[in-house]
């Protein structure tokens, strides 16, 4: 187990290095630079040149790259080119909010998607099954920005139940939960849809296995068969999807955070993209890559907890 984790973590280093390098180069290929975010668009070329020198952007790209890489190796992710705020400080402020939102969305998705998937499998080809599949298809197809706006219009503006923006008052748990409900449901809907579909199909596969038929023949009750025999065996593909789509969920949190005006990596990356803050973009994108790698590792490790055969092999 230890050597497996160590090997995977060591393999993550070149992956992160490649990610960092590609992003570093890509963001500099896009036209535009951070000087416009500071001075606006109506200053002379001479002013822009002076500011670029102050930002260190007049140096050859290769020098900038190695300078950045050297700092990253020392776990110094640099400072925002525009405000001078250390990137790590910005990430430390933003990351907990993104993790909080993603975790809550996963919980919402799991609590609704898995039971619904099981129900649809058990009621295969019934009206409930058709409606449920249609609903989950809608959940996947609906763009997050659209469902977010619809939820705000319904729950905030019409029903006046929930806030439209922010994270609530610091230290006030009720206010924090209030502000988390709509974004979590918006994002959780996506996870619910994925989980419903995969749980349904994985359950159907297992339901056709001989041991399930035997269990029924032995006279075991439906509930016991589903929870003890079927679900446990259907869980591996569900966990794989859960791991895979957590990465997608973190990506989708960008839009959710922007619409609900929540702090987080999403707001950070959009603000940095709009102002071409190269250092912030590169560092945050590399962090995204690191999170996805970590989630994949945790997913692989969790297989062993569910199925002892995976651990043995």
């Amino acid at each position: 187990m230890f050597s497996f984790v160590t090997r995977r973590l060591l393999l993550a280093i070149p992956t992160l290095w490649i990610t960092l390098t590609v992003i570093f180069l890509l963001v500099r290929v896009i036209p535009g630079d951070p000087t416009a975010a500071v001075m606006g668009s109506y200053v002379s070329e001479e002013n822009i040149k002076t500011l670029k020198r102050q930002m260190g952007l007049d140096r050859p790209l290769i020098v900038q790259y190695f300078d950045y890489l050297y700092k990253v190796c020392q776990l110094d992710f640099g400072k925002s080119l525009i405000t001078g705020v250390p990137v790590m400080k910005e990430i430390k402020t933003a990351l907990p909010h993104t993790l909080e939102l993603t975790a809550c969305s996963i919980i919402v998705g799991m609590l609704t998607g898995i039971p619904l998937g099981l129900l649809l499998a058990m009621k295969r080809n019934s009206l409930i099954d058709y409606l449920g599949r249609l609903f989950s298809l809608g959940g996947i197809s609906f763009p997050v920005f659209y469902s977010a706006i619809l939820f705000i219009l319904l729950f905030s503006i019409r029903l006046d139940l929930l806030p439209t923006m922010g994270v609530g008052k610091e230290g006030n748990l009720a206010s924090r939960i209030q502000h988390l409900i709509l974004p979590s449901i918006t994002l959780g809907l996506l996870m619910m849809s994925y989980l419903t579909r995969i749980t349904r199909s994985a359950t159907l596969d297992v339901l056709n296995e001989d041991y399930v038929r035997t269990a029924y023949a032995k006279g075991l009750k439906g509930k016991k068969i589903i929870f003890k025999h079927v679900f446990k065996n259907a869980a591996i593909p569900v966990i794989t999807v859960l791991g895979m789509y957590t990465g997608i969920l973190i990506g989708s949190s960008v839009i959710t955070e922007i619409i609900f005006h929540r702090p987080g990596l999403g707001s950070l990356i959009v603000g940095a993209m709009l102002s071409r803050d190269y250092i912030v973009i590169t560092s945050v994108m590399t962090l995204y890559a690191a999170i996805v790698i970590l989630i994949n590792l945790l997913t692989d490790l969790s297989y062993g907890l569910i199925d002892p055969r995976v651990r043995l092999s």
Binding site: V38, K49, Q54, T164
Partner: protein, 521 residues
């Protein structure tokens, strides 16, 4: 049954816990503003002036003089940090007498002539200011005593007061604070304004708090929170819900009508507006031919450009300078809509069937204007393809002469000189070291209006100066390096319990100006 009861009680308690705090009352008067931007930039007024940070800096700093709140009339300027001022007969020596007892924020002490001299010198230095070139005519800035500042000019300039007004390089900074914070001043600004900087959360918000020792009296509002929200719908819904008090609006008549129909919301559409112009790149054949440009002017129908946003929030753009700017005139040559005349002019120019201008790179902001241009010019056989890129990319590309036609909208400091210099002086031609936004290469491919702009900039007689600016606008409309399409007002919305504390007629900070008199009722 017992389980169901327990679950029911749990849900009820949870509901009360979460929603019981809904109507919590707070004693502090907090004004919440939604800014249409992903972030703030920096708060050094000498280095930065973007739509996101202008309103923030406006509340933190003062100039020696200021626009009367709610107006941008350069001819009705009033004292700010200076109580009064005098000018020598040749208008080259100006003396400003400062208010006594004005306090900087955060305990940085009294504002004196030393701070004013320091600020003006900083605004004039290339390394510390984006507006340094405006201060090139300044010969000397000196403190005559603790409360008197003298500025000596090498020559006359368009408006001395525009250099010391509460905008950009005219803002007065605390010398001690700049020396203490160094580069960090840009996120620790210290001024004398009604509100002091408190906190900045990157890409989220900036908080200002009331400056109790403000020389015009303690502000009625305790705090201002500027939320950076680039999505229009998010700002709008938060205002509707009452989570924001003020927002920047969406440029569309339907939005104005919708918000005006919403209970508790007031909408303000304010001049001076943003002038949208199509610049003809004279380096691209056959646009160097005057007859071609005249033909294009004859088919560009301004009414249709106004209808894109709606007539309530736009006005006709007759001149190359926006209406309301000092030195503006509408007494310029106009080109009536006439397709036959346009076709005849193209035939005379040797293009009876029109021509292809290749690709036009633009961003979604100018897409509707680009599509209208495409549609209207097609009537006389002039074609081009539209390529959409993001806004920063567009800014970079239009400065590299990629386009033959450049639709561009802008609002500037309300003086004709600023607009004329940035868009029509040869020093401002894009690609040059001094280049700004002269996209047409006017003054390089064909003779321009450099002499008129330069003469106006050193003319001491304000009436003669205005005449020079008027002549420049008339010549531009004869030469047609560009064609003005539309003026769009800046749109804001606020809750109706917000009392601005002044009569709002126009605005320079591209947002509501918050003064010590602004209040939440």
């Amino acid at each position: 049954m017992k389980h169901l009861k327990l679950i029911g009680i749990f849900i009820l308690l949870l509901w009360l816990f979460i929603f019981g705090f809904h109507g919590q009352a707070f004693c502090e008067k907090v004004l919440r503003i939604g800014v249409k931007s992903g972030d703030m930039g920096i708060l050094d007024p000498h280095m930065s002036a973007t739509t996101a940070n202008l309103p923030i800096m406006d509340s933190i700093f003062n100039g020696l003089v200021r626009f009367v709140p709610g107006t941008v009339d350069l001819e009705k300027i009033e004292p700010d940090l200076a109580e009064r001022w005098t000018a020598s007969p040749d208008k080259k020596i100006w003396t400003f007498y400062l208010r006594k007892g004005v306090q900087f924020h955060q305990g940085f002490g009294e504002m004196t002539a030393e701070d004013v001299v320091f600020s003006l010198k900083k605004a004039a230095a290339k390394e510390t200011s984006a507006w340094w070139s405006n201060y090139l005519p300044v010969d000397k800035v000196e403190a005559l005593d603790k409360y008197t500042v003298r500025i000596t000019f090498k020559n006359n300039i368009p408006s001395v007061l525009a250099l010391v007004i509460n905008n950009r390089g005219g803002m007065v900074l605390s010398k001690k604070a700049v020396e203490k914070h160094g580069d960090g001043f840009k996120l620790n600004p210290v001024g004398t304004g009604p509100f002091a900087f408190e906190e900045y959360v990157p890409k989220q918000r900036t908080i200002l708090k009331a400056h109790p020792q403000y020389f015009r009296g303690r502000p009625k509002i305790d705090k201002i929170i500027y939320h950076f929200m680039p999505v229009d719908q998010s700002r709008e819904m938060a205002l509707e819900k009452g989570e924001l008090d003020m927002i920047e609006g969406t440029k569309a008549e339907w939005w104005v009508n919708k918000m005006r129909g919403t209970k508790g919301i007031l909408v303000d559409a304010l001049p001076p507006g943003e002038l949208t112009v199509v610049h003809f790149n004279l380096t691209k054949k056959p646009l160097e031919n005057l007859k071609v440009r005249q033909a294009m002017a004859h088919v560009l129908l301004r009414d249709e450009f106004r209808e894109v946003y709606g007539k309530q929030i736009t006005e006709d753009a007759l001149s190359p300078v926006p209406p309301g700017y000092l030195g503006y005139t509408s007494d310029v040559k106009q080109y009536e809509y006439n397709i036959e005349k346009a076709k005849a002019l193209l035939k005379e120019a040797g293009y009876p069937n029109g021509f292809d201008l290749g690709k036009m790179v633009t961003s979604t902001i100018y897409l509707s204007s680009a599509e209208l241009l495409q549609q209207q010019l097609k009537k006389i056989g002039i074609k081009f393809e539209i390529q959409i890129v993001d806004h920063p990319t567009m800014h970079k590309m239009i400065r590299s002469d990629v386009n033959a036609l450049i639709p561009y909208g802008a609002a500037r400091f309300p003086i004709a000189d600023e607009y004329l210099f940035q868009f029509y002086h040869s020093n401002s031609i894009v690609g040059r070291p001094t280049g700004i936004t002269n996209f047409s290469h006017y003054g390089e491919v064909i003779p321009g209006v450099d002499d008129l702009i330069d003469a106006a900039s050193v003319e001491p007689d304000s009436e003669k100066q205005k005449q020079l600016w008027i002549r420049a606008q008339q010549k531009i409309m004869q030469d047609l390096p560009s064609y003005s399409l539309r003026v769009t007002y800046v749109l804001f919305a606020r809750r109706n319990n917000i009392d601005l504390g002044y009569d709002l007629k126009s605005n320079i900070s591209l947002h509501y100006q918050i003064t010590e008199k602004t209040d939440i009722k």
